[in-house]
């Protein structure tokens, strides 16, 4: 199943040099491949394997998920604001399908 509805939360009034928290979430079942449907048939594994966060084109955080991560994978990380820029969040599933969301960081 395709990933949908990528979401993120950024602080509203960050300054250069601040350490901010970036929260991200995407809707995805993260099927483990261990579950059976109601007819007893094994549901094939289907997970998001990689999450990459870039800020102004350079990678600031990367996560590799296994089946042990809950459905609708949530990840939060910290970052020191180097200057004005745009976040790019990319989730890739094991079939290579990529979901991308971008967001500028508003500075005061």
């Amino acid at each position: 199943m395709a990933a949908r509805n990528p979401r993120f939360k950024l602080p509203k009034n960050a300054r250069i040099g601040d350490v901010i928290e970036v929260k991200t979430l995407i809707m995805h079942p993260m099927e483990t491949g261990n579950r059976h449907d109601k007819y007893g048939k094994l549901i094939p594994r289907d997970i998001i394997t990689t999450f990459v966060a870039k800020y102004d084109g350079s990678q600031v955080f990367r996560a590799e998920f296994g089946t042990g991560i809950s459905a609708n994978p949530y990840v939060s990380f910290k970052m020191r604001v180097p200057g004005p820029g745009v976040f790019e969040f990319a989730w890739t599933d094991e079939h290579g399908i990529k979901t991308v969301a971008t967001a500028p960081l508003i500075l005061i």
């Binding site: 483990t32 261990n34 996560a63 590799e64 910290k78 970052m79 020191r80």
Partner: protein, 164 residues
């Protein structure tokens, strides 16, 4: 004539031994349960041991400067919040490079790997994980200095995640 009482004696004995063995059989799971609760011997899957060995490369990680926040009791194993904080200056010379989460008794030992760099400034990440049953969660942090930190947290799980 002499055989009769002997036979009766045997039957009495066998009935008694049957009762004793039945009582022992009824008690043994309880005893095993009590033993598993008391001794705290960590149970680890073979896959966990392999994953742990390949990540550490046989070296013994040190258990300090790493804080893992997991609930002591997880009601729902499908959805267990985890927060990992590593005490690190996060400078170019000394920072956390990678954080690994391993489960000791899930069907798959590897849960997640996170890559950090000095731009993160604070080595603190949050996520949500699955736990199939009551077990230890092992977190490893690889530093740029080559050092490996480790934390082990025991989580009791009421309803297991990971499916059937």
């Amino acid at each position: 004539m002499a055989k009769m009482p002997e036979r009766a004696k045997i039957s009495v004995l066998s009935r008694r031994s049957l009762l004793i063995s039945a009582a022992a059989a009824a008690l043994s799971p309880l005893l095993a349960y009590a033993a598993s609760r008391d001794t705290q011997t960590p149970e680890r899957s073979k896959e966990f041991e392999e994953a742990f060995a390949s990540l550490t490369g046989g070296a013994k990680p040190v258990a300090h400067d790493i804080a893992v926040d997991l609930p002591e009791l997880a009601d729902n194993g499908n959805f267990v919040p985890i927060t990992i904080t590593v005490e690190s200056p996060m400078t170019d010379a000394d920072h956390v490079k990678t954080i690994h989460i391993l489960s000791t008794l899930n069907p798959r030992a590897h849960v997640a790997t996170f890559q950090l760099s000095p731009i993160n400034a604070v080595a603190r990440i949050q996520s949500r994980m699955r736990l199939a049953k009551t077990q230890d969660v092992v977190v490893l942090a690889e530093l740029s200095t080559g050092e490996m930190l480790m934390s082990t947290t025991h989580v009791k799980v009421t309803i297991g995640g990971c499916g059937d």
